[in-house]
Assembly symmetry: C2
């Protein structure tokens, strides 16, 4: 199975939005939705799901996860300490507030975040994705540290936060998720991941697979995700 | 169960894009996707699915259906005789061409359309939706007539094409779909529909339901559609 480098991952995204004519709204919707289905599959009994979102597109995926879980009837809370500037990210946050989902949009004291984590049965890690460069700055490392301290099962989107996209958790201060949902193609770092690994985002055209030599498995029937 | 008027349906859409901060890209993606899942559920063995798309947002939903069915491994063909002018609709068509899906973007002779219908096992009717006012002009009525003549099972999105949105098939020249997938809330006309009726589009916030007195059933688990 082909695992992609950081540069390839970024080039694939660029191809999605240029040659493939996809919009970010579309793919973020499908990416986040597939993660929501994975979370539901494994943790439908959770009394609360905390979704921790970063300022970029990985965080955007997380905002979409929160909305879909809400519509599945789950109890969700969102922590997005720094909201990205794009219109889409701003609107995704507004959607959550409109739905009445508790959404914190600025940094909180670590004790407060610890409490948010402790009151949740599962955490979705949408902090950093394929564009991340180690190390995280101190403020975001504290967010990662809170998630680790909580000992809650974590579902990471695309890349476990704190990990180098290619080399994995080289600094030893990244998350140890229970579940990883890779998007479009697994990144190199996921070769060192020993938890439950899914592929989501059922929208990769053949011209992209061919160009990058992807060898993703075929999704079964109309499933939105596949176990790797 | 509450069935909405044409004016209510249009007002609900307006509320989605203003107060609810949704983008058309998002909701069209989710609407089309839910229809694709219904088609797959009922017609996964179809050798070919013809998707007939109009120039508006109902047509856009159809373009999304085509893409998802393609990713489910189904053989699809698209007839969109008049492509809407919005960037989104143009991009949705480009996506289909990029995927290698046969997509006809101008009016063809009725014999040609008859042939397209005859070579398909099922037809998705995405011609007209909640904004439609009877009667269809002659050119589009011919498209409807071809679908009727084909005797193929039809899956209509939101409103069977040719029907008055409130009064149903008053002119007697509309489609008689096997399946109707209502979006967000069933329209008044669907009270006279005796086929298989689903509700799709799992994205209606409580503030919308409350404002319009919707009494939609609760979707089961993480299902993308529900039988009415």
């Amino acid at each position: 199975m082909k695992f992609v480098t950081q540069q390839e991952a970024i080039a694939i995204d660029e191809m999605f939005f240029s040659e493939c004519s996809y919009s970010v709204d579309q793919l973020m919707e499908l990416a986040g939705q597939s993660v929501a289905h994975v979370v539901f599959e494994h943790h439908k009994e959770a009394r609360k799901v905390l979704i921790v979102c970063g300022p970029g597109n990985n965080g955007g995926d997380g905002l979409v996860v929160a909305r879909h879980l809400h519509f599945f009837g789950m109890n969700v809370e969102v922590y997005v300490p720094k909201v990205g500037k794009s219109v889409l990210l701003q609107k995704l946050v507004e959607q959550l507030k409109m739905l009445g989902i508790p959404t914190t949009t600025s940094f909180v004291m670590k004790e407060t975040l610890d409490q948010m984590c402790a009151s949740s049965d599962v955490i979705v890690d949408a902090l950093f994705g394929q564009s991340f460069r180690t190390p995280a700055n101190d403020t975001f490392q504290e967010v990662i540290d809170s998630m680790i301290r909580s000992n809650r099962p974590v579902v990471s989107i695309d890349v476990p936060s704190g990990w180098d996209v290619e080399k994995g958790d080289i600094a030893g201060n990244g998350l140890r998720p229970e579940i990883l949902v890779s998007m479009a193609a697994p990144k190199l770092c996921s070769q060192t991941f020993s938890g439950i690994h899914y592929l989501g985002g059922r929208f990769v055209p053949k011209i992209v697979s061919d160009r990058f030599g992807l060898t993703n498995p075929v999704f079964p029937a109309n499933s939105l995700f596949i176990r790797l």
